[in-house]
Symmetry: C3
Subunit: 135 residues, 3 copies
């Protein structure tokens, strides 16, 4: 079992592609056929296995989430860290914090148009950790 | 570690039950006690672990998603493949691409009323791949 | 591979923290470095990896879900078990039934403010099972 911790500096709300970092960890593990777990130990950033070709897909996902869970919604009780605090928790709840991807031939078996992204849900920059485990 | 790839021909938007296929892969693996990963390498089809008794549940899930992310929404930028293109990515983002199920006695430990479904989110038929790994 | 089944008595809709139970299962497994799967074999209760400090976050998640999938919505066909029946399936579909958490130093590597919760989506009390597997 091989583990690598990624340190990701986000620049506020948006997507940071991790596909190459995950593939690199899988390569370094020496595992030819197995599985790979990606885990985000945060509650206001999460994972997306999403379309990796057209950036407009990710802009539309962002638009969708902004409409579904708007910042500054007066219906929320919790807002200690600002108007994007509670929406960030909602977005995390609706997406994934943990994902398992098959490995074959020493590579993650993602689809042709499928990339792995860290989705920062806070509007300010954050230091995020991502744990990659291969077995 | 045992892997089987399922080829699933969808007939447009809707659910295709994979419960028996997953159980069959678990049986073929020879694993008595372990775990099973189901992974969908697509960004407009996903997995549901959902109620397997009354088909109206799945019709209502479909109704819910159609209301939440309607086809042809003018708010989306991305629509190269048609009005159901971006809603399919949203539905995938809100559900799961990867799932891990415990195995005991050579069988997936799903609940009595819990089935595994591939959810096709595009309105046209597609050829989908599903990777099942047992260990 | 170590497995423990948790029996959880819910008191109706709401969250029950499982963080200590998961940590206890990991401790009992004797696994120092590995992974842990948490699985819910139900279709109207699910898992949340969410903020564990301020209870208002969980109240707001509940508020969000109640608005997104209101009980007694006349648009649903399925309601054999009451007005909260179909919303409970929707909430389960939008969250997780299965989660994999890295283990290091004999402990689940959750974030500082990240807890694991069982989310009961039915309004009545239920007996729920949760399967924890460590390897």
């Amino acid at each position: 079992m091989f583990r690598r911790e990624l340190a990701v500096r986000t620049t506020g709300r948006g997507f940071i592609e991790l596909t190459k970092d995950v593939a690199s960890a899988v390569g370094a593990s020496g595992v030819a056929d197995g599985l790979c777990n990606v885990f985000v130990p945060h509650t206001s950033a999460s994972l997306l296995a999403g379309e990796n070709w057209d950036p407009s897909v990710r802009r539309d996902l962002e638009t969708f989430m902004s409409r579904l869970a708007p910042d500054g919604d007066p219906g929320y009780e919790h807002g200690a860290e600002g108007p994007d605090d509670m929406p960030a928790h909602i977005r995390t709840m609706l997406t994934q914090s943990s994902m398992v991807i098959p490995v074959a031939g020493g590579k993650p078996q993602l689809g042709t148009w499928q990339g792995i992204y860290l989705w920062e849900h806070r509007t300010a920059a954050h230091e995020r950790r991502v744990l990659v485990t291969v077995w």
